[in-house]
Point group: C2
Chain length 160, copies 2
């Protein structure tokens, strides 16, 4: 029997890009694998050692990330044949999600300061994320934000 807290992989009733993203990212290991792919690991044993999760779980998560186009599996040695996992451009696009998580964790759970800083490779400065209004250019905080339906709203429903 499946325990009741196990999520289905999809949220078919939700016309929402957060729900779509969470379907792909799947679970917490997945985001930690993406983190390591961006900043540190490429090989199965690197992920295994850094993350400390079970081999079968890691293998399943890596295979899913390859299927979803977030990692590529590329041979780096012929005899014996060995593969490594490289982040794709679509995977790199997840950096803002990770940076936003880092900033929230640093703010609320790092009383001794940030454990790691995200830095601009070209100049060594710290990289920060921000929200900005494209129309008026203002920096926006959560209080000043709302949502409205976009062009893809309920495209699955029959036209009225």
């Amino acid at each position: 029997m499946q325990p009741s807290f196990v999520l289905p992989r999809g949220y078919p009733g939700q016309n929402c890009s957060i729900a779509r993203t969470l379907e792909v990212l799947g679970d917490r290991w997945t985001l930690l694998i993406v983190r390591d792919s961006l900043f540190a690991s490429r090989r199965f044993d690197d992920y295994l050692q850094r993350l400390g999760l079970a081999r079968n779980v890691l293998a399943e998560r890596l295979a899913r990330l390859v299927d979803d186009g977030i990692l590529e599996r590329i041979p780096y040695q012929e005899t014996p044949r060995r593969h490594e996992y490289r982040i794709t451009p679509k995977g790199r696009d997840l950096l803002p999600v990770l940076v936003a998580m880092i900033e929230w964790g640093d703010r609320h759970y790092a009383p001794s300061g940030a454990p790691r800083l995200v830095v601009h490779a070209a100049c060594g400065g710290e990289v920060k994320q921000s929200l900005r209004c494209e129309a008026c250019g203002e920096h926006v905080l959560a209080e000043g934000v709302s949502t409205r339906p976009g062009p893809g709203w309920r495209t699955a429903a029959p036209a009225a």
Copy 2:
């Protein structure tokens, strides 16, 4: 027996603000509850209806979000006593995580366009997140980013 893919709640070996954040956010329902708290729901039955999850799972997730200071449980009616859930400032700080997820989902999983737009309440313009270097002011893409230890790096280890 716990299935092997169930995560422990904590990642004690990981000195990382992404891992800390994922410990708190817990699972995918949690982020969808935060989404609804920011933009739509306050009452138990609103979440239940919008999310379509089991009552006991919702109750457990809401209680955890209250414990973690992301939602507040506030009475809105005395007889019978009823409560609603309001997002706290710490919860509002999660908006950039959600906006980054929305942008990634819109880019890769919304061929008909964004289902919802995040807009600046003051002027109606679209809100976008970006990464910027605090030192040189340049907009930064994932290729141009690395990390280095910050002030909170391995504070749990004994001083050398």
